[in-house]
């Protein structure tokens, strides 16, 4: 399908822009000093679940790279790759979730939550710290502490905020299909 591929191109662009805006300009204090809730992972989870692993991965990759570039430094590649990975892993659930059918029952909520937690655990506890050690030779204790914190915070954000968003989104399409006339 030609159109769906154009749509993916656009979804990746707009998704990365959303990721960027939320990650760069929106800071919600988490309660722990100097750390913020990263709302961009809720959006990433949602869009990956809608558009699949390729789109999800690219949104994370482009969005995170742009954020790092805009701060002026060279992208912190280990974390950029981890963000991309979150999108890929959650995107693997896209077919099973089939969100465009407009139903988001308990099973699907569990599936969505499960994949998001899995994705964030793999990305932040396995991949990001390993790459940090490999590329930047940072101390293991430090990178794993950071990784565990990021995994917990981002999983929570993705599961709570992401699921609420998906649920609300599904309600808006369920009704469209059942509309016979105005």
């Amino acid at each position: 399908m030609k159109n769906s591929s154009i749509k993916t191109v656009v979804a990746v662009g707009i998704g990365a822009a959303l990721f960027f805006v939320l990650g760069r300009f929106v800071a919600i204090p988490s309660g722990i000093p100097n750390t913020n809730i990263s709302l961009q992972y809720a959006i990433l989870g949602m869009l990956a679940a809608m558009y699949g692993p390729v789109a999800g991965g690219l949104i994370g990759l482009i969005g995170h790279t742009l954020i790092d570039l805009s701060w002026g430094g060279s992208p912190w590649w280990s974390w950029v790759i981890a963000s991309a990975l979150v999108g890929v892993v959650v995107g693997l659930a896209a077919k099973k979730l089939a969100l465009n059918e407009g139903d988001f029952g308990k099973k699907k909520v569990a599936l969505f939550a499960g994949f998001n937690v899995l994705a964030n655990v793999i990305a932040w506890i396995v991949v990001a710290p390993s790459l940090d050690v490999l590329i930047y030779a940072e101390p293991i204790e430090k990178v794993y502490a950071q990784g565990v914190f990021a995994a917990v915070a981002n999983s929570l954000t993705a599961v709570i905020v992401g699921a609420l968003l998906v649920a609300a989104y599904c309600k808006t399409i369920a009704k469209k299909g059942s509309l016979d006339k105005e």
Partner: protein
């Protein structure tokens, strides 16, 4: 007779998700070089008709079609959207959504890039086409540095890089200020004359399109072609009013005065309209028959703005030394071109931004130190796009949202929300999902959610943008009822009809300054002011002049009063 460039034969189309066809049995021929207006209320199928011609149907919006559609010698169904786009250039409604490039030049060249046109040729074509639509000096501008009208020109250039034979404009006036809309219509006319392209304009704002002549008007209604006539013929009849399209105001005025309008009088344009002495005398008699109603007693002052100045960046003020007062129970328009500072003013009043200098008083008390939240209890703000305000899926929850966050007990919230829903005519729908509502109903929900907080003033940004006459009337009559209940209403608008019909008073902004504060009728009868603030003269002004009635603003006022009477009595 030459062969039509677009030809519908017994054409019926049904969207996959819909239970019944959106287009029924369309038979229509459009010949090369014609300029056609396709009019009709929302949901009449006029946009669907356009999507069939440019190929978005069935390629992007799947569905079933029967019958035949020939576009430029091709059977539309069997072509790809890419092949069709070589013949049909489409300018969409949303100026930002279709501006894809990072700069003007890149956006114009977009189609050429996709066609792998070599760079030198691409640069030459882009320059030539940019010249045609007057954006040649803005080639390296970013979209947000352009006005709405300029963005639209860029979009037009972007489809003209291919030698298209048909230009399709989907509601080209929807997002423009009145002066820009007028220029767009002039530009379309010029391009059509210079290039001989066939032009289709989809628009429900008939009077504005007719600023330049069209060959035919196709009137759509409930999926059928209700009329396919020359403008003069269509305007002389009553079909427009029956389908819910607003006829030009000067014609309504003539009809009120008892002058019969026939095709021979060439009613398509107020300047070409043939009026004999008897007709003019008739209009004068109607004007003199009733004395203007006395002005009502002035109410106490509610909102007072004193010497307000503000700039987003230090050296470029957006608002300069603004002062005015609003009295209790008034209904006031805020008008002026995009970027004149209208929206900024409302943001300052609501406390979203902090003024550089000046004061805002509510009931005589300076509210400068009140935060957004505190002000919101007394001054409500309704955004232009309801989709950007609605954050709940059920109507009740949406209207209750602000109250829930104010910590009000649940039973009081229920009572307050139900009362608000009743006032807004939404009570029967209270348990509906918001996604099932029309745009106009959504708008009403957002107004309700603001009214639930019990404000004394509400400020609305473009309350009727993009709405057809029926929905426009629905929203505005609703606002009038809200106003009659004592709520002061301020509206930012580009709609000259709205300003004339609903708001006795208008604040006119230009370049960050308040340049006029007087009656709407006076504003629109002042050519210098109209020019400076990018507004559009009312055709009633032209008619008054032609009938020798002075001062024209009294004639306009007389018309508005009479029109309200007529409509209030359900005629």
């Amino acid at each position: 007779m030459n062969t039509p460039i677009i030809s519908f034969r017994d054409y019926t189309f049904q969207y996959r998700a819909q239970a019944r066809p959106t287009l029924y049995n369309i038979n229509l021929d459009i010949y090369p070089g014609e300029k056609i207006l396709i009019a009709g209320p929302s949901g009449s199928g006029k946009s669907t008709l356009a999507s069939c011609v440019n190929g978005l149907i069935p390629f992007s919006y799947p569905g079933e079609s029967t019958g035949e559609l020939i576009v430029d010698g091709m059977e539309a169904k069997k072509q790809s959207i890419f092949q069709l786009s070589k013949s049909v250039g489409t300018v969409l409604q949303d100026p930002d959504g279709q501006f894809i490039g990072l700069t003007v030049a890149e956006d114009i060249a977009f189609a050429l890039e996709n066609d792998c046109v070599p760079q030198a040729e691409m640069h030459a074509t882009t320059k030539r086409v940019a010249g045609l639509v007057d954006v040649a000096h803005h080639l390296d501008y970013a979209p947000h540095e352009l006005s709405g009208g300029q963005k639209q020109r860029v979009s037009l250039a972007g489809v003209m890089v291919d030698a298209v034979k048909i230009l399709l404009f989907d509601e080209p006036l929807a997002n423009l200020d009145p002066a820009a809309g007028k220029q767009t219509i002039e530009l379309i006319d010029r391009i059509q004359k210079e290039t001989g392209t066939t032009v289709l304009i989809i628009e429900h704002r008939l009077e504005d399109v007719l600023w330049r002549s069209v060959d035919r008007i196709i009137l759509m209604d409930e999926g059928h072609v209700a009329a396919d006539l020359r403008p003069d013929e269509l305007l002389a009849g009553s079909l427009l009013t029956e389908t819910g399209i607003r006829e030009p105001l000067y014609l309504t005025a003539l009809k009120y005065a008892g002058v019969s309008v026939t095709p021979e009088k060439k009613p398509a344009h107020p300047d070409t309209l043939v009026l004999d002495e008897a007709d003019k005398a008739q209009v004068r008699r109607w004007f003199q028959a009733v004395q203007p109603a006395p002005a009502p007693e002035p109410k106490p002052v509610l909102l007072e703005v004193q010497g307000l100045s503000f700039g987003y960046t230090k050296d470029r003020p957006t608002l300069r030394d603004i002062s005015f007062t609003i009295r209790k129970g008034e209904m006031v328009s805020i008008v002026g071109r995009n970027g004149a500072g209208k929206s900024t003013l409302s943001k300052l009043v609501c406390g979203f931004e902090t003024p550089d200098s000046g004061r805002i008083l509510l009931d005589g008390r300076d509210i400068s130190d009140d935060n957004i939240r505190t002000r919101a209890r007394r001054i409500g703000y309704v955004m232009q796009n309801p989709n950007q305000m609605i954050s709940k899926t059920m109507i009740f929850d949406e209207v209750a949202l602000g109250l829930v966050h104010s910590g009000m007990p649940a039973d009081q919230i229920r009572a307050r929300v139900e009362e608000t829903l009743k006032i807004c005519g939404l009570y029967p729908f209270r348990n509906w999902p918001i996604s099932a509502l029309s745009f106009g109903q959504k708008k009403r929900v957002t107004i309700a959610s603001v009214l639930a907080l019990g404000p004394e003033v509400i400020i609305l940004d473009e309350p009727t943008a993009g709405q057809d006459f029926h929905h426009y009337t629905e929203i505005m009559e609703f606002l009038r009822r809200v106003n009659e209940q004592g709520v002061t209403v301020l509206m930012i608008t580009h709609d000259m009809h709205l300003m004339l019909e609903y708001t006795p008073r208008a604040l006119v902004f230009s370049d960050g300054r308040l340049i006029a504060d007087k009656s709407a009728a006076e504003v629109l009868c002042d050519p210098a002011l109209v020019e400076q603030a990018a507004l559009k003269e009312t055709s009633l002004f032209t008619l008054a002049g032609r009938c020798g009635i002075a001062p024209p603003e009294q004639f306009v006022q007389r018309f508005i009063d009479y029109d309200r009477e007529v409509r209030a009595h359900g005629c």
